[in-house]
Symmetry: C2
Subunit: 314 residues, 2 copies
């Protein structure tokens, strides 16, 4: 089996997740500088804005080879997003929310590495068949959009590892060295972490959102909108509004109407904690403070090695 560190030019097998309204050029560059994969989340960006963020990231790092773009395959501008990225020298793509068949072969022809995000072993097999180089297997704990089968990281990772021959990167509920070590024990070759980097100094999340995360509890998030597209949110008024409608048996249309547009931007970027959508992983309550990306990476690597060296023999 190919190793993830042969596939990606990283110091550590860690991916900073692409996240709408949170992971722009500044965060991606900080991640690349810290030795991990810096991913620009293109989901919320028009091609022009994505171009700006890629250029910004490149101007802030001497490791452009550690920059990647995350493209959810569900917007009409997907092809343009991919083309803009390729034109600016991006060679690593993380794709999600759509069929891995659509763009993988074409991206590979352009010399790119393609990693698709999955939430079941079945989809992982389809990714492998479509030619993906690696899989990010994301558990129920993860923030934002999530699978319908509610398979947790603990249960998902070993089964995805068994299902495919390509490397598997674990995601969902991984906040620190403890989670990284657990994921490696489950058979992953690396991890993707999103939530931990939302509160990083370099993330674009609003300070109000960062503070809400730092003061959250293990019960602060919940997977919701299961009839539409399941998404894990920090509980707030917006979440309660959704829940009330769902409990009343609202239709998909009624829910879409409540949601309106721009809720994610309103919450995560503009800091409206009442009316905004706050996508975050269940592990958010393990985050105690804001740190730079470099501080986070140094800390989690040290934690990982300490745990590894202290595991008892049975």
């Amino acid at each position: 089996m190919k190793k993830i560190t042969d596939l990606l030019p990283l110091k550590y097998p860690i991916i900073q997740a692409g996240m709408v309204w949170v992971s722009g050029g500044k965060l991606a560059a900080a991640s690349a500088n810290a030795g991990i994969l810096g991913v620009i989340g293109a989901g919320s960006m028009k091609p022009e804005l994505l171009k700006e963020h890629i250029l910004k990231a490149k101007s802030l790092t001497n490791h452009p080879e550690r920059l990647a773009v995350n493209v959810p395959l569900l917007y009409e501008k997907t092809k343009e997003q991919l083309q803009v990225s390729l034109d600016l020298g991006i060679k690593i793509f993380i794709t999600s929310a759509g069929s891995p068949k659509t763009y993988t072969a074409w991206l590979k022809e352009q010399g790119a590495v393609v990693i698709h995000v999955t939430s079941t072993p079945e989809l992982a097999k389809k990714c492998e068949a479509a030619g993906c180089d690696a899989i990010i297997a994301e558990g129920f704990e993860a923030g934002g959009h999530n699978g319908r089968d509610e398979i947790t990281t603990m249960v998902l990772i070993p089964q995805v590892v068994e299902a495919v021959k390509i490397p598997v990167i674990a995601a969902g509920g991984i906040i620190d060295g403890r989670g990284i070590a657990a994921a490696m024990c489950l058979g992953a070759q690396g991890v993707q972490m999103g939530t931990r980097f939302v509160t990083s100094f370099e993330s674009s999340a609003h300070d109000h959102f960062k503070n809400a995360i730092i003061h959250s509890t293990p019960s602060s998030t919940m997977l919701t909108l299961k009839k539409n597209v399941p998404v894990r949110l920090l509980k707030n008024k917006f979440f309660e509004d959704i829940k009330k409608l769902e409990d009343q048996g609202a239709s998909e249309e009624e829910l879409v109407s409540l949601l309106g547009k721009g809720r994610a931007r309103l919450g995560m970027l503009e800091g409206n904690l009442e009316e905004g959508e706050l996508e975050i992983g269940q592990g958010c309550s393990m985050i105690k403070k804001t740190q730079t990306v470099q501080e986070i990476v140094t800390e989690i690597i040290s934690e990982y090695n300490e745990i590894k060296n202290n595991l008892i023999e049975f």
Copy 2:
């Protein structure tokens, strides 16, 4: 901090979970013989039947000190169940589904070790304050009754470990050496495994139920009955009947009426896969065959040590 292996006279820090209709005297004795904690699940037993199972277990093992009883604190016969067990020399109790305050002090006066099952760090603190000797922290993945906050093992364990000074045993989604190693990385001192032992040769589960587990997929279980008492079930006709009622906005009373009585016995002990309630953990699809408890324990210990020795340095 006290070590779990000082607290429990075991060869390995592994607890075979007490499970209604599945873990009787035969399974508990096999577990004790294999060096782990053998737990009789008293939930489905009247005191007279519990007595029979304890006597049976004692007759089948030279390690009666490794026998325990799991008592859900919600039936009227709870005190009698505890008394019968104490009278027969049981010194280790696992309590769940009720306040740890009710019986812990009294059981400690009788010289017993008390371990309470929790699904949140907050409840873990209450257990510690009530005098419990250890905590079993059980994640969303676990079979049977489960917490309302849907906190997964990956996210729950580190936070319970931080919340209390007493030893923490991880449960939920742990099927083999990979899961055990992951749990130890997350800070647990040991693990409780239920689902894996349901398919053991010595379990009382019906062969039809065992076969259904062996042929299950990662999507085969789901947490349901969230308005009443959340429970993770293998999907079958009975599960779909509940789901249909819930989707129609049924009241708690309507649901209780559908459920009727004896569904768990019908499914798990009598093997009615259509109309019975099949409680099982999400990790069930990792189980490939029926084995003796000794085979399972030998295998998972060997897996654990191999994973421990092969973890890469970052």
